[in-house]
Every structure is written in C-alpha cells, then in structure tokens.
C-alpha cells in the first residue's frame, strides 16, 4: 500500500507523505494532470454505474404492470400457465383491455427445485474436491486437476445442453424410466427423459467448478501454522483439514454456494434443452417419479418466449420474470461478496 514504506524508514528525515509530485508541477505530462485523469476515470466508472443502475430500474419499471395487476397472487399457483401466457400474448391491442392474469408458481417452483438440487449436490462434491486438491492430491494429479476445473468452468452451456439432449436425455428416457412409471402420470405429463433429474445433474457439473475455485482459494489461505499446530497435537490429516481448514473457510463455502446459486438461477439455454420445458410443477410426493418429471425454470421460459417481447403486455410479463431473477441474483451476488469479505477477520485474504 502506498503511504508506508521507505520514506518512513529513512533516518533523520521527517516521514513525508509520499504523494505524487503533481502538486503544481508544471509541464511533463501536459494536459493530463492528475486531477483531470482522476475526473476522467471516475466519469467512466460512473458511466458504467449508470448503465447498470439504468438496467435495474428499467427492468423493474417494465415489470411493474404485471405485478400490480396480479398482486401477490402472481407468485401463487392456479390454472394452466401456458394458457395464461397465450391469453396475455393475444390480448386486445387497446391498452385498457390488456390481459395480465398470471400465476407463475410452476416456473418459480421449477427454478427452485433445479437450483436447490444442483447447489446441494454440487456443494458437497465441490467441498470434497477442494479438500482433495488442497490437502491430498499428489502433485502430478493436481497438475491435471487444475486445468480440468478451469476447463469445466469454461465449457459453454450450449455444449452441456447438446450432450444432455442428444445423449443423456434419450438414455434416461429409454433405460431409467419404466413403462409403468410413464403410464402412472400419463394423464398429467409425458415422461420422455427430459427431466428435473437430468437438469440437476448437468447443472451440478456446470456450477461445481465455480465453487471449487472459491473454496480452494480459501483453503489455501488458511495459515500453515494452524494446520501444523493441530497436527502436532496428534490429530490425523483428515481431522486437521476438517476441523481447522474447513471451519476457517466457512465464509468462503457460503460465498461459493451463494455465487453458484446465482449462476444456476440464470442458466437458461442448457435447462431449456434438457429439463423438458413444460410449465409443469413437479410434485415431490410422486416419489422417484418426481425426478423424471419435466419442468421449466424462469430463465428458460424467458429464452423460449423472447420472440413475443414486442407484444406489450406479454413483454411486461416477461420483464416480471426477469425482475424476479434480477432481484434474486442481485441479492445473492451481494451476499456472496459480503460472505467473502468476512474471512478477513482472521487476517486472511481469500
């Protein structure tokens, strides 16, 4: 950090605030004095801030009519969502007659199930992988694992979706879902393999690398002395890792879960390819059948309906979906940011 350094340590001199030599310095840099540079950089930062604030305000203002017309029932269930959307899409062109009636529960529930499932499975998987990378993996294995994690994080969602729809979905449809099971819910929904289960599976693979990266950084930042201290007391390596390192890294684990949730919420393309895209709220009391039932999360609903954005009430309804996503992801991003900061109380910068 500027402000402490050699200037303060020189003997016999008053420690001088080591400021830049700009104050009144003529020429040299010509037009670009410090004040002007600061102003310019600040202006650019403010410009980006304004765009982002504008986006948030804009999404909410567009979303407002859909919420005000439905009230809290917007979040409730009732009726067939596809029919409701159709009515909204084909509502009369007179603004006074716009149809807004909507019960978005199937989408919200689908989003929740898929996200929660993927994050829950992914967190356990990521925690163990991170422990393996930091504590147990031989160096040769780590040399493979690090690029592997980076690669998994970088594979585009459409490739995951393609593998899902062409390989995993047909396989699940043929081998895992028995005919009896298909018949048991045939009056409600068709089971063809595109399902919550496949969605969760692929989404887990997609978010695990994000979580691993955060947890690995945190585990590596745990002071070596603490680990050695615990080892010296006779605890075995697993106990040491679990009770000292993982416990210290708890804020980072929370941050990892939260940031991965934000990513999972926004996943649209892959889920619209493999999760069946039916406006259907799968019912957990169906037992095993539950994970084979199709659903459609909010983000996928947006991608699939975006063509209708120019129809005013329909567009406003879509923006209401977007607003729900935006609120959740904003909240999650900021929570993740705060959680990451809280490791600083140990004097650790993850």
């Amino acid at each position: 950090m500027p402000g402490e350094g050699i200037a303060a340590r020189l003997p016999g001199r008053r420690p001088r605030q080591p400021g830049p030599a700009s104050a009144g310095a003529p020429g040299g840099t010509g037009f670009w004095t410090d004040a002007r540079v600061e102003l310019l950089l600040g202006a650019v930062a403010c410009f980006v801030l304004l765009i982002i604030l504008g986006m948030i305000g804009f999404v909410f203002s567009k979303a407002l009519p859909s919420f005000t017309h439905n009230g809290l029932a917007w979040f409730g269930s009732g009726g067939d969502l596809d029919l409701q959307l159709e009515d909204i899409f084909s509502s009369p062109s007179n603004p006074a007659d716009y149809v807004y009636s909507l019960r978005a529960w199937p989408l919200l529930w689908g989003t929740f199930v898929v996200t929660a499932g993927a994050v829950a499975i992914g967190l356990v998987f990521a925690l163990f992988s991170a422990i393996f990378i930091v504590e147990f993996a031989p160096r040769q294995v780590n040399r493979v694992l690090e690029p592997v994690v980076r690669l998994l994080a970088a594979v585009p969602s459409v490739i995951y979706g393609l593998i899902g729809i062409l390989v995993i979905v047909p396989w699940v449809g043929e081998h895992l879902i028995s005919l009896d099971r298909k018949e048991s819910v045939a009056n409600l929904v068709q089971l063809d393999g595109a399902s919550i289960g496949v969605g969760i599976l692929i989404l887990t693979v997609m978010i695990v690398p994000i979580m691993i990266a955060i947890v690995v950084d945190a585990l590596r930042a745990v002071p070596r002395g603490w680990i050695e201290g615990a080892s010296a007391l006779g605890a075995n390596r697993w106990r040491v890792t679990w009770t000292i390192a993982v416990r210290t890294a708890r804020p980072a684990i929370v941050a990892a879960a939260v940031l991965a949730t934000a990513r999972a919420l926004g996943e649209a393309i892959m889920l619209s390819m493999v999760a069946g895209s039916a406006s259907f709220a799968p019912n957990p009391i169906d037992g095993i059948t539950f994970i084979f039932e199709p659903t459609r999360p909010l983000a996928s609903a947006l991608v699939e309906n975006v063509e209708g954005l120019s129809v005013v009430p329909f567009g406003q309804t879509l923006f209401a979906f977007a607003a729900v996503l935006l609120v959740s992801s904003m909240f999650l991003s900021l929570a993740g940011f705060v959680a990451k900061q809280s490791m600083r109380k140990y004097g650790i910068r993850p």
Partner: protein, 308 residues
C-alpha cells in the same frame, strides 16, 4: 516436511470414508471432464468435414444442402473482437479508478457493488434489457428490416456481451494492481512522476498479465454465451449486412455465432442436424480450450514479479 507421517489405515472409520470420498470426488472431476472432451472429440472427428468450415449456411430442409458454418465462425470472431474492444478498456479504467483513486468512497463502493451485481445477472436478463434499449433508443445501430426496428445487431449483442466480460476484467486487473507493492509507486513518485504517469508507465505495464488473464476469461465467457446471441443477434444463420455493405453495415447487421448455430441445429432449436451441431460444438470447444490455454500461460508468466 510440513505434514507428519500418518498412515490412513490407522484412522477411525469415519475419517477414512471421508478421505476416500475426497479422492473419489477428485477422480470423478477428471473423469467427467475427460468424458466430455473425448466424446466431443470423437463426435467432432466422426462428422469432420473441412468444407463445412468454409461454407455459408443456407436455408434448406435437406440437411445435405443446408451448408456449413462459415458465418457462425465469423460471427463468433467478430463478437469476440467487438465486445473485448468495449469491455477491456472500460474494465481496466474502472479497476484503476477503484484501486488507485476510489474517492468519494461511497461512489467507489457503489461502482464495486454494481460490478458484482452485473457479474451475477443472468445473461438472458441482460439480453432483454439490450433488446428494448436498442429497439427504443438506439434503433439506428441495429438491423433495419424494411422500417421495422428489431433491436438486433452485432453492436447490440457486443455491447451486452461486454457487460458479461466486464466483471472478469475488473476483478483480474484489481487483483493485479493490489499485488503491486507500495514501494513501487513510491519509487515512481520519488522520481518526480505524477500519479497519472505512474499509472501509465509503471502500474499498467506491471498489471498487464492480470489484464490479459481477465480479458481472456471474459472472451471465454463471451464465446460461450448463447442467450444474448439468440436474443440480440437474431435467428438468421447467415450474416446479413445491416446497411450498404460497408463495415458499419456489418456491425449493424445480424448473424449467428457458433453457440447459436449449435442451439438452432440441436433438437431444442428444431434444426434436427445433430451431426452439424456436434461438429460446430467441437469447434466451439476448441476455441474455448485455446482461450483457456492462453489464460494458463499468462497466469504462469505473472508469477511474483515484485517479491523476488
């Protein structure tokens, strides 16, 4: 030796199970990644057809005549260049301002949080915002279909894509700037340099690997995003010039990228040409792996410049 000699077999059962679970998780990761790469490489090789790379897509129900994906490749490249050209300078400026100035503090916190927020925003939400923005206010920058403003163009897509890449550039640049020790700045001031000159001549060159890492990560994200392309670049697979055939017309025009090509040729996009989707996905995967490799190389190059 930092670790004591400690044999796993002497551990309590619970610890042994957890230990093997950690090994299993690590190996599972390698297997999954390996399976994806090998499978895509196998399919890519199976449907390999060099001609497809040089042929424009055409609309035909017969798959044998529907052309290749020259346009999507050009589209991906164009989008990468354009969004990087927007995101990299903006990101570096924001990072420099946040770390080196950051006053007033409240404003700096607001900018910091806004960048965090945009990092978590689903790209489909950004795409919808961009569509309305370019439809209503910046229609002159978008493709013009006989008077109907669709809000779609390379400019529209690239500017929203740059918002995806921005947080990565800001994050990596900030990290690089923070890791430069204070005495480096002081040495520069002591030589009579102004703060602006210090940033330009000392800090930015030192942060270059960080900037490179962030930019390459951002490019990876841009190359892989589908939602923005589907919404803001339109459903046409060919590149359509927006105006008079000039470069600006190209920027105003619509087109496709490898991601949207894969999407439209998969069963989900009703294209029903899995073999082309596989080959395009393989090319896309290669692009991503190359970008990934670049990140690794840059990251390796920057190791501890100052602390020797």
């Amino acid at each position: 030796m930092t670790k004591p000699i400690d044999s796993v077999s002497s551990w309590p059962l619970r610890d042994r199970v957890a230990f093997y679970a950690a090994w299993a998780a690590g190996i599972a990761l390698i297997v999954i990644a390996g399976a994806i790469v090998v499978y895509m490489a196998f399919r890519g090789a199976q449907y390999f057809d060099f001609g497809l790379l040089l042929e424009s897509p055409s609309s035909s129900l017969n798959q044998a005549q529907s052309g290749g994906f020259k346009d999507p490749i050009i589209g991906t490249a164009l989008l990468l260049v354009m969004s990087t050209a927007i995101a990299a300078p903006l990101g570096v400026v924001i990072a420099v301002w946040l770390t080196e100035y950051g006053r007033p503090t409240g404003l700096a916190r607001a900018v910091e949080s806004a960048v965090e927020v945009v990092a978590g925003t689903p790209s489909i939400v950004l795409a919808m915002f961009g569509l309305i923005l370019f439809q209503e206010w910046f229609g002159f920058l978008t493709f013009d279909a006989e008077g109907a403003v669709l809000g779609r163009s390379f400019i529209a897509a690239a500017s929203m894509m740059s918002l995806i890449a921005l947080p990565l550039v800001v994050g990596a640049t900030r990290e690089a700037l923070n890791s430069i020790p204070g005495h480096v700045r002081e040495a520069s001031y002591a030589l009579g340099k102004t703060k602006a000159a210090t940033i330009r001549r000392v800090l930015l060159p030192a942060a270059r690997p960080g900037i490179g890492t962030g930019t390459a990560l951002g490019m990876g994200r841009v190359a892989g995003d589908t939602a923005i392309v589907v919404v803001l670049l339109g459903a046409t697979l060919q590149i359509q010039n927006g105006a008079d055939g000039s470069v600006f017309g190209l920027f105003r025009g619509t087109g496709s990228t490898l991601t949207s090509y894969v999407y439209y040729n998969s069963p989900a996009g009703e294209g029903l040409a899995p073999e082309k989707a596989y080959f395009a996905a393989f090319v896309l995967l290669l692009v991503v792996i190359v970008l990934n490799f670049v990140v690794t190389r840059i990251a390796r190059g920057k190791e501890e410049l100052w602390t020797r």
